[in-house]
């Protein structure tokens, strides 16, 4: 056993958590994110956390990094000279895309995000493979060499290759890779077959291009990271968090950086799943609300749900990713009035600079944080543990000027309005991952974290009739906790479209075993012993004719006819549950075989040290709820011992977060230090 360090770089803060895997003891640090050079803030954080823990650096044997580099590069439109090689006739697929207006059909002023590879760097090679994988036209190698030389002369750093139907026959893509290695060995290469061997050329091209585009910077960044870490004398395994919720080694992340998308928010979902497990609530919705956004994920039977499709900043990516719903509702989100007199919140955020009006750093517009201050849910003298002293008058001015006066409301009414509109957005985000996927929020608990999550969670739960809210011990560092407890995870897929009835179990078994062999090799290379390797099989199935599949998990037994029959029945049942009907008479089609390889990490029982001698109640103040001002006790979270009971209304404060308990709600501290809050009618179903 040894020490694990998780580092989560958010938009405003970088959170670190150091864990002693033997004792479960943790140390946390929060430092400002240094956007211009993120490593500066990260290294400062590392030095600090090691200092406060007194840990010998040599004992730090793994470091897991959640980064927003992929999203940042896209948001900032970094110029990376990227080339694309396609089948003759199809270089514009990337620019044409699916060619419809998906956000608002009436918005004729919209522009899709510009293609990441401009047209002069998209070149074509003569070749053609058909949908059955047959070569209709061989690859013209001379033509291909000329194309590569041209990209070299145009100084591209990185090349994506995506040919039609390569998901079923990759020979031409592989040959092109070999030719690039001969003609232009300095270039990074991303093959669609290696990145995303799934049909639908636009989405596959987009994924491959995105991978190629972020590769040079990601490689450089991870190299620098590794160097600076080793300069500190640390000899650790280095991992990044991936969109699929598992960590992967830096070496895999360098080859397939597109998988590192959404690294931070995903860590929150993993932490949520962990909290769900230790508290005994296998079905949970996680709510991670920070300064600019609120990230929501759904945990079903202890595991986060995965999405079928996703996009990053408008660019579709087909990677295995935890289903996240991200809305622009954070503590810094700005409240405003639209031209019809409607109250809106976000998506624009005041961020950390100038920050909410109450930071008194030059911000004049009202934010969600200002509204929380005006309603006395926040303590002006104890924000970030007293690091910033909040200016209540500034909040009042901002809310009066921009909201209360135009709407003819009192300051308090306007503040409450801002909170309720922000809550409405979060409710929609929660419904996206639950109601819209066929899950009833009433059957779930809400796990709230991030600096602002616990401020809002209890009200959201009332609105959605979620019976229980859980606030983990360190809400402000929970995402980083997700990093240190994450398993290693790699996903493998093979597309073979066939009627389930026609599937030869022996051949499918071979396909799955080939994927498993790849998975096994990868885990072994990274030092995961066989007993900690866990391989999961699943099928993507649909009715013949459909375009969207459902993922059906399959046990690890060798496939037999009988098992295929059972898989078909499981599909009908899942289709009925999710979509409301099943077409039992129609043929079921296999589309993809999948293997997920998991290298499990030990998850210690955290030991939370509480000093039980001090009085947890540190004062009282009037807090404004829907029903008016209520005199509420203020608790210091740090002094709450396991078993402690609190009845609402109450406010529970701690260094990086504040939990609001509404009237008729009651909270209990469990053995792990979690706050388990029961709503009026709701009763915890287990434990």
């Amino acid at each position: 056993m040894g020490y694990s360090l998780g580092i989560d770089t958010g938009g405003t803060h970088t959170d670190l958590i150091l864990m002693d895997r033997e004792t479960g003891r943790v140390w946390t640090v929060k430092v400002p994110t240094t956007s211009a050079d993120p490593l500066k803030g990260i290294m400062l954080g590392i030095d600090r956390v090691l200092a406060i823990s007194g840990n010998e650096v040599a004992g730090l044997d793994e470091l897991i990094y959640g980064t927003t580099l992929v999203t940042n590069m896209l948001v900032q439109r970094e110029k990376v000279k990227t080339g694309l090689i396609t089948t003759k006739g199809f270089r514009d697929v990337l620019e044409i895309g699916r060619a419809y207006r998906s956000s608002n059909i009436y918005d004729i002023q919209m522009d899709p995000p510009p293609p990441l590879v401009s047209r002069d760097l998209r070149l074509e090679v003569t070749e053609r493979i058909n949908f059955q994988g047959q070569v209709l036209e061989a690859l013209d190698e001379e033509n291909c060499r000329a194309v590569v030389r041209k990209l070299k002369s145009r100084e591209v750093e990185t090349i994506a290759v995506c040919l039609l139907h390569s998901y079923i026959n990759s020979s031409h893509e592989q040959r092109i890779k070999a030719i690039i290695a001969e003609e232009y060995p300095e270039a990074y290469v991303s093959l669609s077959y290696e990145i995303n061997p799934v049909f639908r050329e636009y989405e596959r091209t987009s994924t491959t291009v995105l991978n190629a585009y972020v590769t040079p910077q990601m490689v450089e960044h991870l190299d620098d990271f590794e160097m600076q870490v080793s300069q500190r004398g640390l000899q650790s395994w280095l991992y990044t968090m991936q969109a699929n919720g598992g960590k992967s080694s830096f070496s895999v992340a360098r080859k397939c950086p597109v998988n590192v998308t959404n690294s931070g928010p995903v860590a929150g979902a993993i932490a949520g799943a962990y909290v769900a497990r230790v508290t005994g609530f296998p079905n949970a919705i996680t709510l991670d609300m920070g300064g600019t956004s609120c990230d929501v994920a759904l945990i079903d039977g202890d595991n986060p749900k995965f999405a079928a499709e996703s996009n990053v900043e408008g660019y579709p990516v087909q990677i295995s990713t935890i289903d996240l719903s991200i809305v622009g509702a954070g503590g810094g989100s700005v409240a405003w009035i639209d031209s019809g007199g409607g109250l809106r919140v976000g998506p624009r955020s005041a961020g950390a600079d100038p920050g909410p009006a109450c930071y008194a750093q030059g911000g004049t517009e009202p934010t969600v944080t200002d509204a929380n201050l005006i309603t006395d849910r926040l303590n002006p003298g104890y924000f970030l543990g007293g690091e910033i002293c909040l200016d209540r008058e500034a909040s009042k001015r901002a809310i009066d000027t921009f909201i209360a006066q135009p709407l003819g409301m009192t300051t308090l009414e306007a503040a409450l309005g801002i909170l309720q509109v922000a809550n409405a957005k979060m409710i929609r985000a929660i419904k996206l991952v639950s109601v819209e996927r066929g899950y009833d929020p009433h059957d779930f608990v809400l796990i709230a974290f991030g600096g602002a999550g616990p401020l809002h969670a209890t009200q959201l739960a009332e609105e959605l009739e979620i019976p229980v809210v859980i606030v983990p011990p360190f809400p402000g560092n929970t995402s980083a906790l997700g990093l240190v407890i994450a398993d290693m995870r790699y996903d493998y897929v093979a597309t073979q479209i066939q009627n389930l009835d026609d599937v030869d179990p022996a051949l499918s078994e071979k396909t799955l075993q080939a994927l498993e062999a790849q998975a096994h090799n990868q885990l072994s290379q990274e030092g995961i012993p066989a007993e900690r390797q866990c391989l999961e099989r699943s099928f993507d199935l649909r009715y013949f004719g459909q375009s969207h599949e459902l993922n059906i998990p399959v046990d690890g037994q060798p496939l037999a006819q009988e098992a295929l029959h059972r898989i078909g029945l499981a599909f009908h049942a899942a289709h009925r549950r999710i979509h409301g009907h099943a077409m039992e008479g129609d043929p079921v089609e296999v589309v993809n075989y999948r293997v997920s390889a998991v290298g499990t990490s030990p998850k210690p029982d955290f030991a939370f040290q509480r000093n039980g001698n001090q009085d947890a109640i540190k004062g009282r103040r009037n807090v404004f709820f829907d029903s008016g001002h209520l005199r509420s006790p203020i608790y210091e979270r740090h002094f709450l011992k396991p078993g402690y009971q609190i009845d609402g209304p109450a406010v529970i404060e701690q260094i990086a977060s504040t939990t609001v308990l509404c009237p008729n709600q009651s909270a209990r501290v469990d053995a792990h230090g979690n706050l388990i809050i029961a709503l009026a009618e709701g009763k915890p179903r287990t434990q």
Binding site: G89, F90, R91, D92, E95, I96, R98, A99, Y100, R101, N104, I105, Y106, D107, I108, Q109, D111, S118, R119, D120, N130, F131, L136, L164, F199, R200, E201, D338, S339, G340, G342, L343, L407, L416, G417, Q420, N423, A424, K425, I427, R428, K431, L432, V435, E436, E463, E465, I497, N499, Y543, F544, G545, Q546, S547, H548, H579, G580, H581, M583, D586
Partner: protein, 593 residues
């Protein structure tokens, strides 16, 4: 009862997410390409009086159509008190009720489900889905139909489900009249399940908020949208604005035919009158009133504020009148399958009329309607599915040409045009599903109309039939009169169709609409029109012209000819600033004389 603005916002989100959820459910579970890949389906929620309260928008032309259809159903067929929980009404008849206030064409099946809460009618959940075949002369109805009876089975509003019980006989009657019964059944079940999902979600909302609050909220949301729409319309200077457009301008079926509009704006009210539009013709391009109404409201939504919540309030300040028996308000027995030809022109017609009034909001002319579809049989490669004898269909390019330039921006290239907002299917999906080999999907160089802001590029789409007994049908517009530019902007390139026979003989198709049989190996190329430009091309930023040349959107010759920008022929594409300035001054002087 007045609802506080916060609860209102919460309920608005709830309504919208129910409607969006219904649309998403259809695309996730349907069987035919046009729905599952093209997303040719839309949902809407109505209150108990049949007023729109929210929409799940995919295809603009569908949406406001559901309003007149529901009105027709309630007033002529099933009054509200004849409905019970679990009923599903189905209709696809453009002439239901006698006028043309039904479905737009027979392929669009509309399902309507009443929503009850504690035995009180709360509203209606409705979905419109384009079904791939409902009979008719040609597969998918894509022939030159001359009357409605050639467009397949026509269903006046009927109950497919009564109190939750499926009428199996009726279903079998419907499926028997389709060439693709398997797909149709899959799509219908997807449609009904999605609609039911909407009903359940609305019931849950009523459980939570109660009937009174929901009704009051719907009422206030409509008033809010009406207020917003009026305040937007008030920004259009009062006056009368007229314009005309021509369809079938290449002479197809006796064309060209005239569309005419007069728009009057007074104090936040706006009336649109199509008086002067030519009478309906013996061909499938006539628009039922409901289609004209949708196209009109769509365009006005684009020209106001797209973020206004979509509901009946947006419709209130707008009055649409159209002469009976005309191209924009046809009567039995006119065929209507390709009413989009008229509907796309209606968009350009209104934009053109309002251009002098609101030059900063309109868009120059766009490519209009483009359909490109084939069907055929190849048992060796595609023996599964399809209709009788495994006939498989493929289609592409539902109007993905160039859109017009805007006041401060270039037009979008290869983008779903206005009232069609259908996604293009992936080449790989097309080839997996049908015996066709796609040879090219590309942007069409030089096709965007020159202007200070350039029109969007059209698309080139080429495919080879690998089928036997193949049928090909095509529709496009603007082959003789290309999409026009505004304020000195130049027109985009006109559309063209080419066929290269397997024996090498190549020909250009004479008309922009038609159908023919193909041999195995025949190659079809569609060159889609580009959008019109906006503003004088001589005022375009030379650097933007250079970027267009580097990307191959504009040739060096056209940079000089259209834009007066002189660019060197080498790889560096340097602008010759002196030559450019001289050329531009010379042209501007000549233009002034």
């Amino acid at each position: 009862m007045s609802v506080n603005p916060i609860t209102l916002e919460v309920i608005r989100h709830a309504f919208e997410s129910v409607a969006e959820q219904m649309t998403a459910a259809v695309t996730r579970t349907s069987y035919s390409d046009i729905v599952k890949e093209g997303k040719d389906c839309s949902s809407a929620l109505f209150d108990q009086k049949g007023r729109l309260i929210a929409e799940g928008a995919n295809v603009p032309i569908h949406l406001n159509c559901l309003t007149p259809v529901l009105e027709t159903v309630l007033s002529h067929y099933f009054p509200a008190d004849s409905l019970a929980q679990g009923d599903v009404i189905l209709t696809n008849d453009p002439y239901a009720g006698g006028d043309s206030k039904g479905s737009h064409h027979t392929n669009d099946l509309i399902s309507i489900q009443p929503i009850f809460w504690k035995e009180v009618l709360l509203g209606f959940a409705t979905i419109m889905v384009h079904h791939s075949d409902v009979g008719g002369m040609w597969p998918g109805n894509s022939a030159w139909n001359q009357e409605i009876w050639q467009e397949g089975l026509r269903m006046q509003p009927i109950k497919l489900y009564k109190g939750g019980q499926l009428d199996e006989q009726l279903l079998s009657l419907i499926l028997n009249n389709s060439r693709t019964p398997y797909k149709m059944r899959g799509d219908l079940m997807a449609q009904v399940s999605a609609c039911t999902k909407g009903v359940r979600a609305m019931e849950r909302l009523a459980d939570k908020y109660g009937l009174e609050l929901l009704t009051a909220s719907a009422e206030e949301l409509m008033e809010y949208s009406e207020r917003q729409t009026r305040s937007q319309l008030a920004k259009i200077p009062d006056g009368k604005y007229e314009h005309e457009e021509f369809i079938l301008e290449d002479g197809t079926a006796g064309g060209p035919y005239r569309l005419k509009v007069a728009i009057e704006v007074r104090d936040g009210n706006l009336s649109v009158d199509y008086m002067g539009t030519d009478p309906q013709i013996k061909g499938p391009i006539n628009a039922p009133w409901s289609a004209t109404y949708s196209a009109t409201l769509y365009t006005l939504r684009c020209l106001t504020d797209h973020t206004i919540p979509s509901n009946a309030g947006c419709q209130r300040p707008i009055i649409v009148t159209a002469p009976e028996g005309s191209l924009v308000n046809c009567r039995l027995p006119a065929a209507t399958y390709q009413r989009m030809v008229v509907c796309h022109s209606v968009v350009d017609l209104i934009m053109g009329a309002l251009a002098p009034a609101i030059p900063d909001r309109i868009m120059a002319d766009s490519c209009g309607c483009i359909y490109n579809s084939g069907t055929g049989i190849n048992l060796e490669t595609h023996s599964r599915g399809g209709d009788v004898e495994c006939r498989q269909g493929w289609s592409d390019c539902c109007s993905h040409g160039g859109l017009g330039a805007r006041a401060t921006k270039d037009g979008l290239g290869a983008m779903a045009c206005h009232v069609t907002n259908v996604a293009n299917p992936p080449v790989e999906v097309t080839e997996i599903g049908a015996p066709v080999l796609v040879l090219e999907r590309a942007l069409r160089p030089n096709s965007g109309g020159a202007g200070q802001y350039r029109g969007g590029l059209g698309q080139i789409y080429t495919w080879k039939s690998l089928a036997h007994d193949a049928l090909f049908s095509w529709t496009s517009q603007k082959t003789k009169i290309p999409p026009q530019g505004f304020f000195k902007g130049k027109p985009g390139q006109a559309g063209r169709w080419m066929v290269r026979k397997a024996d090498g003989e190549q020909s250009e198709l004479e008309h922009a609409i038609g159908n023919m049989e193909l041999e195995y190996g025949d190659v079809v190329t569609c060159l889609m029109a580009g959008g019109g430009g906006y503003g004088d091309p001589l005022l375009r930023d030379p650097d933007a012209v250079r970027q267009d040349v580097i990307r191959g959107f504009v040739s060096i010759q056209n940079a000089r000819g259209d834009y007066g920008v002189v660019i060197s022929g080498s790889e560096s594409y340097e602008i010759d600033l002196a030559a450019t300035e001289a050329l531009r001054i010379d042209r501007l002087t000549k233009a002034d004389q």
